[in-house]
Symmetry: C2
Subunit: 454 residues, 2 copies
Amino acid sequence: MRKLVTSLLLCTSLYSFGQNADSVAIRKIYNEALSNGKSHEWLRHLTKQIGPRLSGSEGAQKAVDWTKKLMDQQGFDRVFLQEVMVPHWVRGAKEVAYIQNGKQKTNVPIAALGGSVATAAKGVEAQVIEVKSFPELRALGAEKVKGKIVFFNRPMDPTKTITFDAYGGAVDQRAGGATEAAKLGAVGAIVRSMGLAQDDYPHTGGTRYGTGVPLIPTAAISTNGANLLSKSLAENPNLTFYFKQNCETLPDAKSYNVVGELKGSEKPDEIIVVGGHLDSWDLGEGAHDDGTGCMQSIEVLRIMKALGMKPKRTIRAVMFMNEENGLRGGVKYADLAKQNNEKHIAAIESDEGGFTPRGFGIVGTPQQKEKVIQWKPLLAPYGLHDIGPGGGGADIGPLVYIGTVLFGFKPDSQRYFDFHHTAADKFEMVNKRELELGGASMAALVYLLDTYGL
Amino acid sequence: MRKLVTSLLLCTSLYSFGQNADSVAIRKIYNEALSNGKSHEWLRHLTKQIGPRLSGSEGAQKAVDWTKKLMDQQGFDRVFLQEVMVPHWVRGAKEVAYIQNGKQKTNVPIAALGGSVATAAKGVEAQVIEVKSFPELRALGAEKVKGKIVFFNRPMDPTKTITFDAYGGAVDQRAGGATEAAKLGAVGAIVRSMGLAQDDYPHTGGTRYGTGVPLIPTAAISTNGANLLSKSLAENPNLTFYFKQNCETLPDAKSYNVVGELKGSEKPDEIIVVGGHLDSWDLGEGAHDDGTGCMQSIEVLRIMKALGMKPKRTIRAVMFMNEENGLRGGVKYADLAKQNNEKHIAAIESDEGGFTPRGFGIVGTPQQKEKVIQWKPLLAPYGLHDIGPGGGGADIGPLVYIGTVLFGFKPDSQRYFDFHHTAADKFEMVNKRELELGGASMAALVYLLDTYGL
């Protein structure tokens, strides 16, 4: 009990102090973001003028050039590129797919999964085995799977209140389905889209081929398409599924992380990173994934400059390249940090969409987490209640090996998987205030990290 | 400190108990809502098949008939109507408005405010006085205002993190602007729309005429229109503004509250109300305002039935009529409750949109609030952190006089004023999961109120 009392007292005294100084600073940050925020207009440019930015594409290069120029124009102390070689996968001509049920042919929306091989030029047509899990597939055995298309149809669990938990419970099908199917001699793998809405958008996303198994073509089917296919199979298990896709993996391409920096006034060698990933899938405009995280990160530095804040430590906005299909940018950034002996005390990633802020997940020691959790009274007035253990973010993940404390920005998750990796991930789906509140929340955490260290 | 410790212990023991029983019940409620929720499909019917439902309109009557039938079909123990006479205002032909700046005529989007009189048939055209507040207007005096159109242009404050606070800080212009302007001899009042987005949607809403002053026509202008008018006035203070509107107040019409009920098994005389308002403004489909609140309220009873819950107390879903321009349904409901000597222990209203739940505002004694706040550990896992003093809701407000504890359901507020009272308030703007989480949150609170009383 004494411990509880002590921690309560600590909490109370911190709060009193906070009310006198930090809470004023944080209020100013939110006021600046909500009155003069620039992230929404920047995002309009990134999504509407540049558009999709798959690694190795022309869009990705344009985004590198433009964000560098944008940060230069903001007058940050230093803006620089980090060269990195990235995978270069291209979708090619739009996919075609249909269910052939007796004489009835019904087109369904699919999208090749990133990294997949193409079908033969004439497409592939075969009977379908529907399964909900890898164990179920393995139990069927090669005899029943050989020569067929495996249809992975386990939906995301709608009862998970945080949708990322539902995603985590289903995404193995997308990542490993083709490999598991190929092990048993399947000729293709069709995966139910990772989305909670019942609609006609196929959700692309990365797949991974295992070594020593044939590379079979794999695609996502929309949830409506999956429901139809499942219903049709129940009526006629002998129906066939046809699909044709034209994707291709080209040689690795040269690309860049883009970094903007405000130099620390007292401890310039201690670095705090705030970032998102600049690349996106090719189907939409890469708005919530992850144009919002990039624009919010630049906005954090803009806000600090606009308010005349002189950070003690060096603050960096990092646009990571190639989160979606390789993570090469994140790995490169951490490699260079290690190589250059840079001390990164903290890194914040925004890669869960531009929705209303809920909190931050923390990856660090119990003491580090406790320190941050004690800032809650300063952040709760802005709806940031969910501050505690949790994931950081893919791009900043490799920094954990040099002792960096990682923070994953957590916005409200309900709508994210309506857009994620689809053609619906467009600028219009981003609310200006929600986006701005996110940037302000990240700036508030940067302010506290800069002021108190970790 | 002892008090703190005691309350911590209390909290802890309640939580332990909760984990053993209440938390299981609440988890089931959310699971049912997210797996088998019906509110979204019901809302589709209400908005797409019935549409706008201004008091006295055909749409309002259709909504009464349909919600009664819907609750009958759900097999609730009792479904009944409460007759109430409501104001009957009609917009008539679409409004026309333009800025006449020298030879340049620019059309701008306006919408007559509910309850406003029409202009003369040929419209009204006059010079414009722009003000930000009533004191500023009064300081100008009759000499400068007489014969002119007063343009109230104080924006909602974007730095308020809860948008309802920004609304509360600006809505006096809409409610009282025409009267204040008429006192000084103005011939019309144009009010900047109550919205935070810069767009072309005028936001209608109720205006109130004071007694003893001329009734002058008043309309809302879109935020883009307001910005243009203000800019044009800065360039040319002598420009004129023209508007024509055709609205009319007809004799009061007969309408109804619609009530569905699950009868209490132990204390049937103690009533818990959950409700929203069935009427809407005429410009959109009345989706977030307040189709969502109505459908969530019916969903609360459906969930309880589906889970085989036998409430100890009587639970009522109430569709109140005429919240928007009269509150006659809310007043009538409380009058009847008093007249029939009904004991209403609690009432929950959902009228802030169908967005992700954040909490509940409570109107009650400190002891009652404290009791509810102790349920936080059961509700926080669902994102309901914001539980404490706050407003209840307009329709349930009159119940305070018979000792009812009032609860206002608080969803995330960031997007609400993008739609509120505009043509954009449509079904498509409502996310299924956000809507369902709201209904589940209301059901969870009803469950706790029913189990523990107040």
